[in-house]
C-alpha cells in the first residue's frame, strides 16, 4: 500500500446523497479477477449517456476538474454492496481522498485498506467546501493526515467561511496509512495469539 502523509490538490464536487456502490461501479463490471481497470468505469452510468458518449454535464467529465485527487461527495457515501471494486475504481481513477459528511461502514474500511482516505466532515463544512470548489474549481485543498486537518486555500474563500476542519481517524488506521502497512501484516504478526485462541477456545 502507498504511504499517505500530506497532499495538496484540487477537488471534484459530486453533491449527491446516498451514492451507493452500484453507482460507483455497476455489477456488470465486476467480472474481472484482478484489481486493474476499474477506474475506467467509475460512475459509469452517470459518466456516459445512453449513446455511450461522455456526458458533458457530469463533473468528472468537465475540463476544470481534470487531475483533481479529491472527491467531494454528498452525505452517506458508499452505501449498499460490500464490493471493494468500488474503492478500486475510485483509486484507479486517480482519487486519493473522498470527503463526505457520512460514510457507510464497509466502504470506509475498504477505502482505508486501499490507501484511499475517507474524510468525514460536518454537513456545514461539506457544503462550504462544495460551494468553494464550484465557485473556484482551481481551489487547492490540503489534507494533512499527521495533524488530521483539511484546509481550503484561504485566498479563494469568503471571510465568513471556515477554511479549516479537523477530522477523526482511528489511530491504528492512521498509523497504517502513514506507513503504508495493511491489516494482513499486522494479523500475521499476531499469529501465535490467534493459534493459542484456536486451541483454547474454539467451539466450532
Amino acid at each position: 500500500m502507498e504511504k499517505f502523509t500530506k497532499l495538496t490538490t484540487t477537488a471534484v464536487p459530486l453533491p449527491i446523497e446516498n451514492i451507493d456502490t452500484d453507482q460507483i461501479i455497476p455489477a456488470r463490471f465486476l467480472k474481472a479477477t484482478d484489481k486493474k481497470g476499474f477506474g475506467d468505469n467509475v460512475f459509469r452510468d452517470w459518466r456516459y449517456n445512453k449513446g455511450g458518449d461522455l456526458d458533458p454535464s457530469f463533473p468528472l467529465n468537465q475540463k476544470q476538474y481534470q487531475g483533481a485527487q479529491v472527491l467531494v461527495a454528498g452525505d452517506n457515501f458508499g452505501c449498499g454492496s460490500s464490493r471493494e471494486h468500488a474503492a478500486w475504481a475510485i483509486v484507479g481513477y486517480g482519487f486519493k481522498v473522498v470527503i463526505s459528511s457520512f460514510f457507510a461502514d464497509i466502504f470506509k474500511g475498504n477505502a482505508l485498506n486501499n490507501g484511499l482516505l475517507p474524510i468525514q466532515v460536518s454537513p456545514e463544512y461539506l457544503s462550504q467546501l462544495t460551494a468553494g470548489i464550484q465557485e473556484n474549481p482551481e481551489l487547492p485543498i490540503t489534507i494533512d493526515l499527521e495533524n488530521q486537518v483539511i484546509e481550503m486555500a484561504e485566498v479563494y474563500t469568503e471571510p465568513s467561511r471556515s477554511t479549516k476542519a479537523e477530522f477523526d481517524l482511528d489511530p491504528y488506521k492512521k498509523v497504517c496509512m502513514i506507513n503504508g502497512y495493511d491489516d494482513i501484516d499486522f494479523l500475521l504478526s499476531k499469529k501465535e495469539a490467534i493459534e493459542t485462541f484456536e486451541k483454547e477456545r474454539m467451539v466450532f
Binding site: A27, K31, K35, N76, A104, G109, P171
Partner: protein
C-alpha cells in the same frame, strides 16, 4: 454491572486480543466465499506467499455470476467463465470445499449455508457480500466484508475490527393478514431510514420475531444492511434449534445437546442496555412496496407517495417515473422476479404457489422464479410447486443471484418496472435503467397474476 446483549456474548467469546487505542482481533469461525469477491484476495495471498490458515473453515459456492439457464453447458460469456474457473482453481489449490455450479448443494451463499447447517448460533461468520447479515437469524454474528478482509481471513482466520454499537428494534403486537416478514423489514427501514443502523449491530426483538419461522427471520436479518447496520441478530430459541438439528453439518447426538445448552445461554440478559432502541407496533405494518431508489423509500401498498420536495427524493421519483402524492396501485408491471437471498427459500415459494394455484399469469408479465439453491429447486419439484407455477405460465430458472444484481443475462430492460422480492432498488441494480419495486413474495405473485399492482389488503390470502 449491566447484563450483556446477545451480540456482546458472541463477540466477547471471539476476541483474541485488544490493541491499545485501536481495534480488536476477532476470531472468525466460518468464512463463506464466492466467485466475484475472492479472486483478488487469492492473488494477493499468492503474491505475498501466504498460505490459507484454515481451509477447513472456508466454504465456497458459485452464485453471483452464474447463468440460471442451461447450467450444464459451458458458460458463454468469457469473463464469467474465467471467474468461475478461477474459483475452482483457487479452491483446489488451497483445499477449500466448493459447491460449484451444478453441485447438489450449490446455491446463493446465504441460502445454501443455513440449509446445510453450516450456520449455527453463537458463531462468527463472514463473506465478501453485504447480505451475510442473513445468518444473524440464528443468533450468529455475521457480516459482509471487503476483498482485503477476505484476504485477511484467509491469512489469519481473524479480522481487525472495532466493536460496533448496539441497537435493538422491538416489534410487538399482531400482524395483519397478508403481512410477511419482508413487509416487516421494509416497514422498519421505511420508518428508521437507510442509515439509522450505521455503526451498529442490530438485534430484532419482540413477539413478531419470536413467532417467525427461520426463513422469515433470515429475510429480516438479510436486509439489516439496508438500514446501514453491519448485521442483524435474533436470539436463538426452540425454532432455531429445530431448524439446525439434523442438517448436514450440524452437530449430532451428544454434541448437539451440548451445543443447545450453550446456545440457550446466548439471548440478551434482561438488564442489558442498548446504545439505541426503537419500538414499533405490528398493527401499523401492511404489505409494503418501495417507490424510490433506496430501500428506505417504502410505503404500504395502498398508501400515497409522500410529498417531500428535496433533491434526492425528486431525482429518485424521476428515475422511477412516479409522482409525489400518487398511489402505485394499478401501475402496469411487465416483470416480476421472485428470488434472491432475501426471498428464495422454500417457504417463499410455498406462499407464492398457494396464491398462484389455479390462476393464470397476466399476458403482459414475464415472471421469473429463481430458487435460492439446488435443494430448494428439488423441493419445488418434490412438493409439486414447479407444476403449479408452470401451469400458471411462470418460468422457473436454475439457482443463483440472477436478476437481484443482474451480473448474468437476467436483466430487466431499461425503463421497465420489476416487482422484485430482492433487497435493493438502486438505480440500475437490475439492469441499466431498470426500475425496481421491492415487495414480498405474495405481492410479487399477485402482481404477476394481475399484470399490475393490486391492493392485497382486501381479503385474507394466506
Amino acid at each position: 454491572m449491566a447484563g450483556k446483549t446477545l451480540f456482546d456474548k458472541v463477540w466477547d467469546a471471539h476476541v483474541v486480543d485488544t490493541i491499545e487505542n485501536g481495534p480488536q482481533i476477532l476470531y472468525i469461525d466460518k468464512h463463506l466465499i464466492h466467485e466475484v469477491t475472492s479472486p483478488q484476495a487469492f492473488n494477493e495471498l499468492e503474491q505475498r506467499e501466504i498460505p490459507v490458515a484454515r481451509p477447513d473453515q472456508v466454504v465456497a459456492t458459485a452464485d453471483h455470476n452464474t447463468p440460471t439457464q442451461n447450467q450444464h453447458l459451458p458458460i458463454k460469456d468469457a469473463m464469467s467463465r474465467n471467474q468461475l474457473e478461477q474459483l475452482t482453481k483457487n479452491c483446489d489449490k488451497h483445499g477449500i470445499t466448493l459447491y460449484g455450479l451444478g453441485h447438489k448443494y450449490n446455491g446463493i451463499v446465504h441460502v445454501m449455508a443455513p440449509e446445510l447447517g453450516i450456520t449455527q448460533p453463537g458463531m462468527t461468520m463472514v463473506c465478501g457480500d453485504s447480505h451475510t447479515s442473513t445468518h444473524g437469524a440464528f443468533g450468529t454474528i455475521a457480516f459482509g466484508i471487503g476483498t482485503s478482509q477476505v484476504g485477511q481471513v484467509f491469512a489469519s482466520q481473524s479480522l481487525l475490527l472495532n466493536k460496533p454499537k448496539s441497537l435493538r428494534v422491538n416489534v410487538k403486537g399482531k400482524l395483519a393478514p397478508n403481512v410477511l416478514p419482508k413487509d416487516v423489514i421494509l416497514y422498519i427501514i421505511s420508518k428508521l431510514g437507510t442509515n439509522a443502523g450505521t455503526g451498529y449491530f442490530c438485534e430484532y426483538a419482540g413477539n413478531v420475531f419470536e413467532e417467525m419461522s427461520m426463513e422469515g427471520r433470515m429475510t429480516v436479518c438479510n436486509m439489516s444492511i439496508e438500514m446501514g447496520a453491519r448485521g442483524g441478530m435474533i436470539a436463538p430459541d426452540q425454532t432455531t434449534f429445530d431448524y439446525v438439528e439434523g442438517r448436514k453439518f450440524a452437530p449430532k447426538d451428544d454434541a448437539f445437546a451440548k451445543a443447545v445448552s450453550y446456545w440457550k445461554t446466548l439471548p440478551t440478559d434482561d438488564d442489558a442496555v442498548f446504545d439505541k432502541e426503537y419500538h414499533l407496533n405490528a398493527e401499523d405494518i401492511g404489505p409494503m412496496l418501495t417507490y424510490g431508489t433506496n430501500p428506505g423509500m417504502g410505503i404500504k401498498i395502498n398508501e400515497h407517495i409522500p410529498e417531500k420536495g428535496d433533491m434526492t427524493f425528486e431525482k429518485a421519483l424521476e428515475y422511477m417515473n412516479f409522482k409525489e402524492g400518487a398511489q402505485l396501485l394499478d401501475t402496469p408491471i411487465n416483470y416480476v422476479f421472485i428470488g434472491s437471498c432475501t426471498n428464495s427459500r422454500i417457504e417463499d415459494f410455498r406462499i407464492a404457489a398457494n396464491y398462484v394455484k389455479g390462476k393464470q399469469k397476466a399476458p403482459n408479465v414475464n415472471a421469473w422464479l429463481v430458487p435460492g439453491s439446488q435443494q430448494v429447486a428439488k423441493q419445488l419439484e418434490d412438493e409439486g410447486l414447479k407444476e403449479v407455477f408452470e401451469a400458471a405460465g411462470f418460468v422457473l430458472r436454475q439457482p443463483g443471484c440472477s436478476a437481484c444484481l443482474a451480473m448474468n443475462d437476467d436483466k430487466i430492460p431499461a425503463g421497465e418496472y420489476c416487482v422484485s422480492t430482492s433487497n435493493r432498488n438502486f438505480e440500475g441494480r437490475q439492469g441499466q435503467g431498470a426500475r425496481t419495486i421491492l415487495a414480498s413474495p405474495l405481492v410479487a405473485a399477485a402482481t404477476a397474476i394481475e399484470g399490475k399492482i393490486v391492493d392485497i389488503t382486501k381479503e385474507v390470502l394466506i
